[in-house]
């Protein structure tokens, strides 16, 4: 019964053994592809730009290691947006002044209740970086780390390489010369 149904199955697909083998081969191929994974190859660090003083600002200069990984404009947009966020956080204006006065009046107990302006902007930055990672950087094998984790000294961009692909293209972008 089983065999007959099996045979029926074969014939019913109308392709016969070869195509079923072909399907199996495809499955194998897909499984192999699924086994490909990315490994961390290198880290690129974007330094702070101190030309305007100690305000938090990062260099928009495009690092050469990312030359073959991401378009220049995308990278510069990301850094410029981050710089704008930080400028907004550090802006001395009405809101920050009121916050200070309120803090003084409540003997700083207000810090237990509300979130400061800077913290609010940091949350926005964190969401922005997450979104950029999902949409732009991860598809290109890169990951941005929030600078706050590094004391806001550098933006760390992790460069990943496809570990499971064929040997000729393995190796990080900077160590791509593996002497072949």
């Amino acid at each position: 019964m089983v065999t007959s149904s099996g045979e029926l199955d074969f014939t019913s697909t109308g392709t016969g053994i070869s195509s079923s083998h072909g399907n199996m081969a495809t499955e194998f191929h897909n499984l192999q592809e699924l086994r490909h994974s990315a490994s961390l190859a290198n880290k690129v660090f974007i330094q702070r730009d101190y030309t305007d003083g100690t305000v938090c600002k990062f260099q928009t200069k495009f690092p050469s290691e990312l030359d073959s990984r991401i378009e220049r404009t995308l990278f510069e947009d990301t850094v410029k947006t981050l710089n704008n966020y930080y400028a907004e956080a550090e802006k001395i204006g009405g809101q920050s002044y009121l916050e200070g006065c309120l803090a003084c009046l409540t003997v700083y107990l207000i810090f237990l209740c509300i979130e400061t302006r800077y913290e609010k902007v940091l949350k926005k930055i964190s969401r922005y970086i997450q979104e950029q990672n999902e949409k732009v950087y991860a598809p290109r094998g890169l990951l941005i780390t929030d600078p706050i984790e590094r004391g806001m000294r550098v933006i760390e961009i992790s460069v990943y390489e496809d570990r499971g692909s064929s040997g000729s293209s393995s190796g990080s972008s900077t160590t791509s010369s593996s002497g072949r």
Binding site: Q47, D67, Y108, R117, S126, E149, G151
Partner: protein, 658 residues
């Protein structure tokens, strides 16, 4: 020591638990005691009369001022001043001893120096300083205040400043109202209340002078936009302060800016974004494509030129190009510090990697360096050792390097005593030329009479270096090193690869400071033959038609050595060298003093020019001569009587004086 304060957080623990030092808490305890104690006494003994006599507003006012003072005091004491978390290992990719101690950046037109912090492992941002008491780098470091037992930095400077202002006000209030009380109780001074009030007055008066002085000092600093650190170190004395924005803006920056975030103790969100291949790649621009083609062309022509020059007959693929080509920006790479380097010239004479080579957070590169440097203590010991055979047969193929490792283990072992020379070499070539080190290892091995095992271990020490180089590494300098490291090992190996070294030697010759033709010329400081130009190698090869080195296998060597009196252990170390160079002086015979080594080498070099007298007429020990004659057979001089010719495998003939 008992475990004390730990100022760590969930993220980036700045420093390990420090030992409990009670002396640190004396000033802050005293300050707290005086402040709280005196004020409490004032409220208990003086204020009741004041509120009755004048109004109850007085105690209320004093209470508010006191509360404000206390709040600022607590904030200044307990708030994180802006501590930078330690940099992680992968941020510091540069070889420490090649990186400068200072980097300059331009801040609003003024050059500001950033110093490398060896504790925190990063270049300190402008206005950042490392507090030795807290053992942390603090952002916009003002000073370490003992009265609050905390650093004053970007985050808590405002509270410290307000504390000073409010404390001055409070002291003045207490003193004033106490004086008012005393003046109205001049006839009841023997009362307890009066006595206490007078005591409070004294304390207040005593503290007023320093506190007011400090307050005035900080008012000036705030107006000028400077930190205490900058003021006392005289950074902007007579110069321009790049961090000032004008008096009003400076005051606004201190008092009205939003509370800066802390870097420690932050909850680190786990990375939720997955990175999965296949990856998108940007389209290469035409310029990039052209550069790639050109780059390949350059490599190709270079290696073909080498092959032509070296007259190599091997069919191996051309060696990879020099490291500088591979990593075009190696000295100026886009790693952590380079982008700032490009802005202003670094101070070349100061290097951040100071003598403390052992550093816990070092990556493999650095540890390798440190291990090499530690071996390099006996630099003076063996100036001639660098002679070696430098086989840098430049092979980055993993299989070959592993073969190299195996083969070397089998044969190229040398003396542990040779580690002195080895060390010298490594210090000498300490600038990441492990191939140099390796060849030195071999020559040192040759020169030492100890067992094969020691070189084996020394080799193995570099084994991981090699294996790392063959895998894809994330650190350019490490990859660079290991590639070089694999060179010399390869060369040791199989005779068939011997022509390799010449092409590789050419590549490596530029880094070597030695003159290329040193061997054929006077016997001065021995050259590193392996790194000399192909011309020399070819010349030597011509001259040393007979002197093909014996292979690594022990049996022929034993046969080779039987006629001589040298111990068998010497032979294997010798052969690789001799073989690989196709010409002499791997190095002095084992068991010699460093001086002896150089002499023997020099003597060996001279031997080439002394056709017949090398038999036994030199002042050097016979064994040395035998070795040298055997090895220095470049000019195939006719040996004098008493010299035995021994043929090794591969057509090698050695002439040994018996």
């Amino acid at each position: 020591m008992p475990v004390g304060l730990s100022v760590g957080g969930a993220l980036g623990d700045p420093s390990p638990s420090r030992s409990f030092r009670p002396s640190r808490y004396v000033p802050v305890s005293a300050a707290t005691a005086f402040l709280v104690g005196a004020t409490t006494l004032f409220f208990c003994f003086t204020c009741p009369w004041l509120s009755d006599r004048f109004s109850s507003f007085i105690p209320l006012y004093n209470a508010v001022v006191f509360l404000f003072t206390l709040a600022n005091f607590c904030m200044a004491t307990f708030m994180d001043p802006g501590i930078f978390p330690r940099a992680e290992e992968d941020e510091d990719k540069e070889d420490d001893f090649r990186a400068p101690l200072y980097k300059t950046v331009e801040v609003r037109g003024i050059q500001v120096r950033m110093k490398w912090c060896s504790t925190c492992r990063f270049y300190r941002p402008p206005r950042c300083s490392h507090c030795s008491v807290c053992d942390n780098c603090v952002e916009e470091f003002d000073h370490h205040c003992p009265w609050v037992n905390n650093c004053i930095g970007r985050r808590n400077y405002r509270y410290f400043f307000l504390f000073l202002l409010s404390l001055t006000t409070h002291i003045m209030d207490v003193f004033g109202f106490s004086l008012l009380y005393i003046l109205h109780h001049t006839k009841q001074l023997d009362q307890v209340h009066s006595g206490v009030t007078m005591a409070v007055m004294c304390v207040a008066g005593l503290f007023f002078v320093p506190v007011a002085g400090l307050t005035g000092f900080h008012v000036v600093l705030v107006a000028r936009g400077r930190t205490t650190n900058e003021q006392v170190t005289g950074k902007f004395r007579g110069g321009v302060n790049p961090f000032t924005h004008g008096c009003l803006k400076n005051i606004a920056h201190v008092l009205c800016s939003s509370q800066a975030p802390r870097y420690l103790g932050r909850l680190r969100k786990p990375q939720s974004v997955q990175v999965q291949p296949p990856f998108l790649r940007p389209p290469l621009s035409e310029a990039q494509l052209a550069a790639k083609v050109l780059d390949n062309g350059i490599q190709q022509s270079k290696s073909s030129l080498e092959i032509m020059e070296s007259q190599s007959t091997d069919a191996e693929p051309p060696p990879p190009p020099k490291p500088e080509h591979r990593y075009p920006g190696l000295p100026h790479t886009q790693n952590e510090e380079c982008s700032l380097l490009t802005e202003a010239p670094p101070t070349p004479s100061l290097y951040k990697y100071r003598p403390a080579y052992s550093s816990p957070g070092k990556n493999h590169t650095a540890s390798t360096h440190s291990s090499k440097m530690s071996r390099g203590n006996s630099m003076t010991e063996s100036p001639s050792v660098p002679v070696t055979t430098g086989q840098p047969s430049y092979r980055s193929d993993p299989s070959l390097s592993s073969r190299g490792g195996a083969g070397c283990r089998g044969g190229g072992e040398g003396g542990r005593a040779g580690s002195g020379g080895l060390g010298g070499a490594s210090a000498f070539g300490g600038r990441s030329y492990p191939s140099f080190t390796d060849t030195l290892l071999q020559s040192a091995a040759a020169s030492c009479s100890s067992s094969l095992r020691s070189a084996h271990t020394a080799h193995n020490a570099l084994g991981p270096l090699i294996s790392e180089g063959t895998t894809s590494t994330s650190y350019k300098s490490l990859a660079n090193q290991t590639r070089n490291g694999s060179l010399s090992y390869e060369s040791l190996l199989t005779p068939s690869e011997s022509p390799e070294f010449e092409s590789a030697a050419h590549e490596l010759s530029p880094p070597r400071p030695h003159p290329p033709h040193s061997l054929s010329t006077a016997p001065g400081p021995p050259p590193i033959l392996g790194y000399t130009s192909p011309f020399l190698s070819a010349q030597q090869r011509e001259g040393s038609l007979q002197a093909c080195p014996a292979p690594l296998r022990p049996s022929p060597n034993r046969a080779f050595l039987r006629p001589t009196s040298s111990p068998p252990s010497r032979a294997p170390p010798l052969s690789p060298r001799a073989r690989s160079l196709g010409s002499p002086p791997p190095g002095p015979a084992p068991g010699h003093t460093p001086l002896g080594k150089s002499l023997s080498y020099a003597g060996g070099a001279e031997l080439q020019h002394r056709p017949s007298s090398s038999g036994g007429g030199t002042p050097m020990p016979n064994s040395t001569i035998k070795q040298n004659v055997a090895n220095h057979n470049t000019h195939s001089h006719k040996p004098a009587g008493g010299v035995k010719k021994v043929t090794g495998v591969g057509g090698t003939t050695y002439e040994i004086s018996v």
